[in-house]
């Protein structure tokens, strides 16, 4: 091996002192992440499990988070997506002890027609209680919008922020 005769002065510097790369995910066609899709149902029911020895539901604080449930009519396709949001439509919130409400009953619920985020405070007189028929330690939350072709970026679900209740000691 021959000697190049090169003599370095000082310490060598490196370029690798910050990030090396960036990743991007795009969609090709009807990408579910990038494109809005029809809800495919007219309502959603889910249960909030409560403590076993609960005797009275006093108050429930729910939040429809940023980019939460916000149903719109389907304005049809644009060049990038098969479905696009049209105008905002109302949805209705109701509760039950057994998860059974007809669509007509759900349509009598509290009406919302605004952009998330917002808080929803529910007082005891609107909540199911352990004395109700069919109570199985769950508060069933019913969200009703009435048209399976409506679209929403957020899923039909609300975040539980606070639950005040009385318990048997």
């Amino acid at each position: 091996m021959s000697d190049t005769g090169q003599k370095d002065k000082g310490y060598p510097k490196t370029d690798l002192d910050d990030r090396d790369f960036d990743i991007v995910l795009l969609y090709g066609g009807s990408g579910k992440f990038a494109c809005i899709t029809p809800l495919g149902a007219t309502y959603e029911v889910y249960a909030i499990e409560v403590p076993k020895h609960l005797i009275f539901n006093r108050r429930l604080l729910l939040q429809n988070i940023t980019l939460g449930f916000d149903p719109h009519t389907d304005a049809g396709a644009d060049p990038d997506c098969p479905n696009t949001p049209g105008s905002r439509v109302p949805w209705y919130l109701s509760f039950s002890a057994d998860g059974v409400l007809t669509e007509d009953e759900m349509a009598q619920g509290v009406k919302f027609n605004q952009a998330p985020p917002f808080d929803i405070e529910v007082q005891a007189n609107s909540l199911p209680q352990p004395t109700d028929a069919g109570w199985d330690n769950k508060i069933y939350v019913h969200l009703y919008w009435g048209n399976a072709s409506y679209v929403s970026y957020g899923l039909p679900t609300l975040q539980l922020v606070k639950h005040d209740y009385d318990i048997k000691i």
Partner: protein, 166 residues
């Protein structure tokens, strides 16, 4: 004899490696190898890509259709047309996964790059700059999957000329 002292630009090698990245709801994945801040040109680029598609993916969707080098993001529309960036060099590769749902390949993408697109970008979505995005395009069927697969390895090596004289 006339002495001629050649003063070539310095070369800088840069390597970026992504491992065990869960691919979700996307059939177009782009990799931007961040050049050295003082880069002038990108001379060579080599990549190694290994993906294992999820068992829930359709067998016919376990494919890599094209490798694309572009200076910005683009999209394939529902009617099959493309919204394209200024610089767009696709190469159809049509690779199919093996019995373990894996595609593993190495490729010299030098022929696809724009050598002058060696700008340094702070982050994706910042002001448009001349950069080389390397995209892997898969069938649109995997767009509908929350878990389309796992990119086991994505390694990109770039050889840049940089300012300063050796």
């Amino acid at each position: 004899m006339i002495g001629n002292k050649i003063q070539p630009y310095k070369y800088s090698m840069k390597i970026g490696t992504l491992a065990d990245f869960e691919l979700s709801g996307s059939s177009l994945v782009g990799f931007y190898l961040v050049p050295p801040k003082n880069a002038i040109t990108l001379e060579n680029m080599i990549m190694h890509f290994k993906i294992q598609f999820d068992a829930s993916s359709a067998a016919g969707d376990r494919k890599i259709n094209r490798i694309v080098v572009t200076d910005n993001s683009w999209s394939v529309r529902t009617d099959g047309s493309e919204f394209r960036a200024d610089y767009f060099r696709p190469l159809t590769v049509d690779l199919t996964a093996d019995g373990n749902r894996i595609i593993d390949f190495k490729m010299d993408v030098t022929s696809l790059i724009n050598k002058n697109n060696a700008d340094y970008a702070e982050q994706y979505g910042a002001d448009p700059v001349d950069i080389n995005w390397v995209f892997v395009e898969m069938p649109t069927g995997i767009n509908d999957l929350v878990t389309a697969g796992v990119i086991k390895l994505w390694k990109v090596e770039g050889l840049y000329t940089t300012k300063g004289i050796r």
